[in-house]
Symmetry: C2
Subunit: 225 residues, 2 copies
C-alpha cells in the first residue's frame, strides 16, 4: 500500500506558479507583481501608468487583489482595460495573492490580446513577498510617509523585488525624512534593488518608471524558479 504524502505547501504553490508561467510564455505576456503596505499608492500608480503604456502601443490588463471589496477595480474601470477582481475571502481571507488565485483569474482574461499584465497584490509588506506567482518582475511600492526603516524591518520584500518605487515624493517637504537614509537602508538589504522616486499624484519620476518597465518587458527576464 502506498502512503499518500501531502507535499510541502510551498512546493504545491510553486507548481501552480510554474503553470501560470507556462501560460504567460505561451502568449508572450509580461507580468508585473505590484506589492506594498496598505495605502502606498499601487492603484494610483496603475491609473497613471496604463494610459502611457497604451500610447506606446501596449495593451494592459489587471488582476486586482483584495481581501474583500471591489473598490480598487472600480477606480481602475475608467481605464477601459480588462480587470479581474481577485478577492481572497472565498479563499480563506488570505493576506496575499497566491498563484492559485492568479490561475483562477486567468480564466477570465484573453491573454492573446494582452502585452502587460499587472497583478496588484493585497496591501501587506509581509506575506505577498513569500509567493512566486509566475511573474516576470516584482515591484515594491513604498510610500515616503511610511518612514526610512521599512526595508530593515520587512527585509524579505526588499530582497525579493526587482524595483522599489518610492512614492508620494510630493510629501517630502512635510516629512522628517532623510532620502539618503531611505536609499541606504534599501541598499543594505538588497544592493541590486533599483530605486525610482515617484509621485503618482504629480507624475514626478514616471518617465523613469515607465522606461524601466518597457525595458524589462523587452528583455523579459523571467524570475521562474
Amino acid at each position: 500500500m502506498e502512503i499518500p504524502v501531502i507535499r510541502d505547501v510551498l512546493e504545491e504553490s510553486n507548481e501552480r506558479a510554474r503553470e501560470n508561467r507556462t501560460v504567460f510564455d505561451r502568449y508572450g505576456v509580461f507580468v508585473a507583481n505590484i506589492m506594498s503596505s496598505p495605502g502606498s499608492g499601487k492603484t494610483t500608480i496603475l491609473q497613471k501608468t496604463i494610459p502611457v503604456l497604451r500610447e506606446n502601443g501596449l495593451a494592459c490588463a489587471i488582476i486586482e487583489g483584495d481581501i474583500t471589496s471591489t473598490l480598487d477595480s472600480e477606480k481602475l474601470k475608467p481605464l477601459g482595460v480588462p480587470i479581474v477582481q481577485a478577492n481572497t475571502e472565498p479563499f480563506g481571507g488570505d493576506c496575499y495573492v497566491g498563484p492559485h488565485l492568479v490561475q483562477a483569474a486567468l480564466r477570465y482574461l484573453d491573454l492573446a490580446s494582452i502585452h502587460i499584465l499587472f497583478i496588484e497584490n493585497i496591501g501587506n509588506l509581509v506575506c505577498p513577498a513569500e509567493f512566486y506567482l509566475g511573474e516576470d518582475c516584482k515591484v515594491v511600492v513604498l510610500s515616503l510617509a511610511e518612514g526610512e526603516d521599512k526595508p530593515l524591518k520587512y527585509p524579505l520584500m526588499f530582497r525579493e523585488c526587482h524595483l522599489c518605487l518610492l512614492n508620494k515624493m510630493d510629501l517630502a517637504p512635510y516629512l522628517d525624512i532623510d532620502l539618503n537614509v531611505f536609499e541606504s537602508n534599501i541598499q543594505k538589504i538588497n544592493s541590486q534593488l533599483k530605486v525610482i522616486m515617484v509621485s503618482a499624484k504629480t507624475g514626478f519620476g514616471f518617465l523613469a518608471w515607465i522606461e524601466w518597465l518597457l525595458e524589462q518587458s523587452k528583455t523579459r527576464n523571467s524570475t521562474a524558479r
Copy 2:
C-alpha cells in the same frame, strides 16, 4: 486506545490568550494591543504617550513585535521603561504577534510593578486582527496618508478594534483627503468604533487619546472571549 486529536489552531491560540488574561488579571495590568499598517506611527505614538502616563503615576512596559530587527525597541529605549523585543522570525516569521509570543515575552517582565502594558503589533492591517492576545483593548492606528478606503478594504481590523487613532493629521493640508469620508467609512464597518484624530509629530489630539486610555484602564472592560 484513545486517538489524540490536534484541536483547532485558533482554539489553541485562544487558550494561550486566556492564560495571558489570567496573568494580567492577577497583577491588575491593563493591556493595549496597538495595530496598524507598516509606518502608520505606532512607535512614535508610544514615544509621546508613555511620558504623559508616567506623569499621571502610571508605570508602563512594552512588548515590541517585529518580524526581525530591534529598531523600534532602540527608539523606545530612552523612555526608560521595560521593553521586551518579540521577533517572530524564530517563530516561523509570523506576520502577527500571537498569544504564545506574548506568553514568552511575559517571562521577562515584572508585572507586579506595571500598570499598563502596550503590545506593539507587527505592521500589518490583516492578520494581527485575527488573534486575541488576552488584552483589554485593541487600538488601530491609521495614517491619514493611507487613504479613506482602508476600513472598507480591511474590515476585520476595524470591526475588532475599540479605538481608531487617525494619525499624521499634520499632513492633512497636503493630502487629497476628505475627513468626513474617512469617518463615515469607519462607521460603515463598525459604528461603535471611537475615532480620535491625532498627530504624533505635533501632539495634536493626544489629550483626548490619553484621557480615553486612562478611562479604559480604570474601567478595565476585558475583551476576554
